[in-house]
Amino acid sequence: MGGLISIREVTKTFGAKTEGLLALRAVSLEIAQGELISLVGPSGCGKSTLLNLVAGLLTPTSGEILIEGKRVSGVPENIGMVFQQYSKTLLPWRTVYENIGLGLELKGMRGKERRPIVEDYIDFMGLSGFERKKPYELSGGMQQRVALARTLSYKPSILLMDEPFASVDAQTREVLQEDILRIREKERQTVLFVTHDIREAIYLGDRAVVMSARPGRIKGVFDVNIRRGRRDPAVKATAEFNSLAEQVWGLIKDEVLDSLRAKRD
């Protein structure tokens, strides 16, 4: 089966071409249907830029991105994106219910038809009883669940997640990780998951793609066979898991030091 998403020699420069900031350099990646790719790398390595390019929010300076064989220009129809700053993506003047319904509303679905679907995802994400609350009345983790439910409700075939758990506490993060795997099992979307957490990348990903410091390049791709088909947080304690985390860390370590040095300049 061909890759559902193919990223071909994508370069992205911000600002003027000659003196601008080179964010990505010749990145190529084939992603198969239903695959969960975690993108891991030091901060400022262009992970989020790559995601925004796939989402059609940015256009590549050179190279191209194809989704199901079609070149991305503008926002593709079948994508859903979840952001790190989830609280900013929720509308504070709307209730949780109305926020979750927004995706379907934008796709042109009527209120009556939306209701069963929205209720379904409220239930699935464990948000029952919070329907009439406003987002700011919820905890961070619950807010992110609202954002997830909203994105899932219109059944995108590709899920783009930009460090979705970076601003929640460690315990909530573990719970949300299980949510992701649960969602995956139910809907079998293709997922592109950006994180700077190595263990999260290995735990969630079918493959973990390691990126280098600016300009972002793909430094290594790890096949993660540990968890496939199962959903068990216990794998995090296995020797296999830890050795893989060590390998990924080995690859990233120099990059982190590089990016630290770059920041000092």
Binding site: F83, L91, K134
Partner: protein
């Protein structure tokens, strides 16, 4: 709810109690100094004791001697003129502000113009407005409307620009069109800025209306104040001043009440920290 009520009773009411006590103490001091005629006699001729002004105010309210001193009528005139100017200004300026905030080309050309005009007192146009619209209410309303518009254009413009880019991006990924983004996100994000613009504009609209009434015409609170000044009836003058204060404070107070109701989500998200 119970907790909020208790907090209000402790601080809200107590705070207000202090405010009123301060005003009362000030008036009391004024009253005594005026009665004793401390220092210059001339000064206390126009700094009429507050009790006397209040008595006059009450009599002008209940049994005005003639039309010129019918303070209720003139308050009504000033209020409706300011109200029309405010509404007109908002209706004209908010769409303009939205257009400037949304289209960068327009923003680049026109925003500096509005920024330049904003601190300009719109009263400078009043002579021209009299020539254009006559000496009635229209020229006064227009002068006030211009003042309101300058405030509202800038405020709604910044309201539009304050819309979070992450929010806009997230809507785009759900397939939102520009019209969707404008209707479902930008409009709401701009509302708090528009509301605070209106709060400022209430004062501005009354200010300009009263000023134009002082300059020309036979109606409105500005007219009453100057009419009394011409006749050296200073207690009547203070009655006009008091009426203007009450009209302005009442309008702002009412608006703040509406604002808190309508923009509950805004105050709850910003005042939480």
């Amino acid at each position: 709810m119970g907790r909020r009520l208790r907090v209000f009773l402790r601080w809200g009411l107590e705070g207000r109690l202090w405010t009123f006590s301060l005003i009362f103490a000030f008036c009391f001091l004024w009253e005594i100094l005026a009665r004793l005629q401390v220092g210059s006699f001339f000064f206390w001729d126009f700094m009429v004791p507050p009790s006397k002004s209040l008595a006059t105010f009450y009599s002008l309210l209940t049994q005005p001697p003639y039309q010129e001193y019918d303070i209720l009528y003139h308050s009504g005139t000033t209020l409706w003129r300011a109200g029309v100017a405010l509404m007109g200004g908002v209706l004209v300026a908010v769409p303009v502000g939205f257009a400037l905030g949304w289209w960068r080309a327009l923003d680049a050309v026109f925003t500096p113009l509005f920024e330049f005009l904003r601190p300009t007192p719109s009263l400078i146009f009043f002579p021209i407005l009299i020539l254009l619209f006559g000496t009635g209410s229209v020229s006064k309303i227009m002068a006030s409307l211009i003042a309101v518009s300058f405030v509202m254009v800038i405020n709604s413009l910044y309201g539009v620009k304050s819309t979070d880019s992450v929010l806009i991006n997230s809507l785009r990924t759900m397939g939102a069109s520009n019209a969707d983004i404008l209707r479902k996100a930008v409009l709401y994000s701009a509302l708090p800025h528009i509301a605070s613009g209106i709060r400022v504009s209430i004062g501005a609209s009354i200010l300009v209306i009263v000023s134009t009434e002082m300059i020309q015409g036979k109606e409105g609170l500005g007219f009453v104040i100057y009419f009394a000044l011409d006749r050296l009836q200073f207690d009547h003058m203070w009655s006009g001043i008091l009426a203007t204060l009450l009209v302005g404070a009442g309008a702002v107070y009412l608006w703040q009440y509406v604002e808190k109701k309508v923009l509950k989500w805004h105050f709850e998200t910003t005042a939480r920290a």
